[in-house]
């Protein structure tokens, strides 16, 4: 398995989008300090789909929040396009685990949320475009409470895409969905990613999900999280999830995390 470890996107000589250097994060709670992230070094290429994979509570969400500017690291820096990240920015949208859509706005209202600076006509055009892209036609005037979990998640992705960000941070976005919807949503996300080529950092604890989606999978250790290894998934999309290469990569990660792939 070790020969598959790749530290940088192999051969694809593309621009670095995000660079995290020397990231450490400690949280203070009740007087005791807990180290959550230790010495994280990460480079993400422009247009790359990167998965952060690790056990629950390992600190991968913390890393994502630091990259998005919602948290500042205890030490270390994150730069995007060479600029240090100092806070959240509409050029990089964070999609939450679940229920990040605003329940007091309709589907249209949610998508229009980040578009206040555009003219009415431009807004309408964007709304129509992204409603179609995520397959919510006919639900323009519906409120989130009238939508299923999968539809809400698609709405949140549409709201994020509508402001035309160049990066998306997704924090276990499909974690609350049933397994069938989750599979469909992965396909949808890949389709959208292939159409728009945003740089995506996707946090998950699901090994299969990571191997199905990512260009590279960053495997993180249990807390305090360090980067254990980075696995390049060198399979073209659409991926055959019963191909020998897929299974080899998947089982490699299972071994890396220390799980026997048997129940």
């Amino acid at each position: 398995m070790t020969e598959e470890k790749v530290k940088t996107p192999a051969a694809k000589a593309v621009k670095t989008k995000l660079r995290a250097t020397g990231i450490n994060k400690t949280f203070k709670r009740d007087g005791t300090e807990t180290s959550v992230l230790e010495n994280v070094e990460l480079e993400v290429a422009q247009g790359e789909f990167l998965c952060l994979l690790g056990p629950s509570g390992c600190g991968k969400s913390t890393l994502l929040n630091i990259c998005a500017g919602f948290l500042s690291p205890t030490t270390g820096t994150v730069t995007i396009d060479g600029e240090p990240v100092t806070g959240p920015d509409p050029r990089r949208i964070f999609v939450f685990q679940e229920r990040g859509v605003f329940p007091w706005l309709t589907v249209e209202g949610n998508i229009a949320f980040g578009l206040a600076k555009l003219s009415k006509a431009e807004q309408a055009e964007r709304i129509a475009h992204y409603i179609k892209m995520v397959g919510l036609q006919g639900f323009e005037k519906a409120y989130p409470q009238e939508l299923s979990g999968g539809m809400k998640q698609r709405l949140e992705v549409a709201r994020a895409l509508a402001v035309n960000p160049d990066m998306l941070f997704l924090d276990e976005p499909f974690g609350a969905l049933d397994s069938i919807t989750r599979l469909i949503m992965r396909g949808e996300l890949l389709r959208i990613w292939e159409a728009e080529r945003k740089t995506i950092i996707f946090v998950t604890h699901d090994i299969e999900e990571a191997v199905q989606l990512a260009d590279r999978v960053v495997v993180m250790s249990a807390r305090p999280a360090t980067i254990q290894t980075i696995v390049e998934i060198d399979i073209e999309h659409p991926r055959d999830i019963s191909s020998p290469r897929y299974l080899e990569l998947r089982d490699g990660i299972f071994n890396e995390i220390g799980l026997a792939h048997k129940i």
Binding site: F70, F96, G100, F102, W104, L105, G114, Y143, Q145
Partner: protein, 259 residues
């Protein structure tokens, strides 16, 4: 799955039946007690008709409602922004909260002597009492509403580049609105309770005054009961306005268990 749905007629039939049984019971209870002070339903109806004929009932209702309108309206106009501010700046609420929490359990009726000293016997006193009674629940509900806004919504708002003012207007306020509505509904209920009490002591018009006046001037219990029924019906109608508000779709999400 066959969950039995109540038929449409049942929605009206059962409440009407309950009211009918209550009236029959009331009627015979008065007869059985041989009371010549306590009126039966027919006498109360007659009393209500008498009040209507003299034209005092409508005037009294208008007086009571306008006192509530002014006192409660002021409490809403001042209480909601004040509560939002306290929720938004935790430091400010730390300063003010002890005072609010101490004032809150004081019955508005205990303020009656204070109100009379400050504003004399009259309309201003009654309005002041209603204002006080509704102000604190509105402030507390608005403050807690802001505090309970999930951080996810604030973060999403910031992510889309909202300034703090816009964040308050476009995210925090709508997110807190269901809780604010609950506070407003509770406050209106209290305001309606207090107006009756205030009118018994501080003024000479309104439904509260009617209750006490009918008793004092010749033990007209038929008029007392008629006024009480009017108070109940109007209170119910005021509450229905809020129940309607809670049905608006941009608010209703806050009232469902699974939001």
């Amino acid at each position: 799955m066959t969950l039995s749905q109540p038929g449409k007629w049942e929605k009206y039939f059962w409440p009407v039946l309950t009211a009918g049984i209550f009236l029959v019971f009331w009627h015979y209870a008065v007869i059985a007690s041989k009371s010549n002070v306590f009126p039966g339903p027919w006498k109360v109806l007659g009393g209500a008709q008498e009040l209507m004929r003299k034209g005092v009932l409508i005037g009294y209702i208008r007086d009571s409602l306008s006192r509530v309108g002014v006192g409660y309206g002021l409490a809403m106009l001042l209480g909601v922004p004040f509560g939002l501010t306290l929720g938004w700046y935790p430091a400010a609420s730390q300063v003010v909260n002890p005072v609010i929490q101490m004032m809150r359990p004081i019955s508005p009726l205990a303020w009656i002597p204070v109100a009379i000293v400050l504003f004399g016997v009259g309309n201003t006193s009654a309005v002041f009492l209603i204002f006080l009674a509704s102000f604190f629940p509105i402030v507390v509900a608005s403050m807690n509403g802001v505090r309970n806004v999930p951080s996810m919504y604030r973060r999403a708002g910031r992510n889309f580049g909202l300034s703090p003012g816009k964040l308050l207007a476009k995210v925090v306020f709508p997110a807190a609105l269901p809780q604010i509505i609950v506070g407003l509904r509770i406050a209106l209920g209290i305001a309606w309770l207090v107006v009756v009490a205030a009118e018994m002591l501080a003024v000479d018009s309104g439904l509260g005054y009617l209750v006490i006046d009918a008793r004092n001037s010749g033990n007209r219990y038929d008029l007392v009961i008629a006024a009480m029924i009017m108070i109940g019906v109007i209170g119910l109608a005021l509450d229905l306005i809020f129940r309607r508000l809670e049905q608006i779709k941009s608010i209703r999400w806050g009232f469902r268990l699974e939001a």
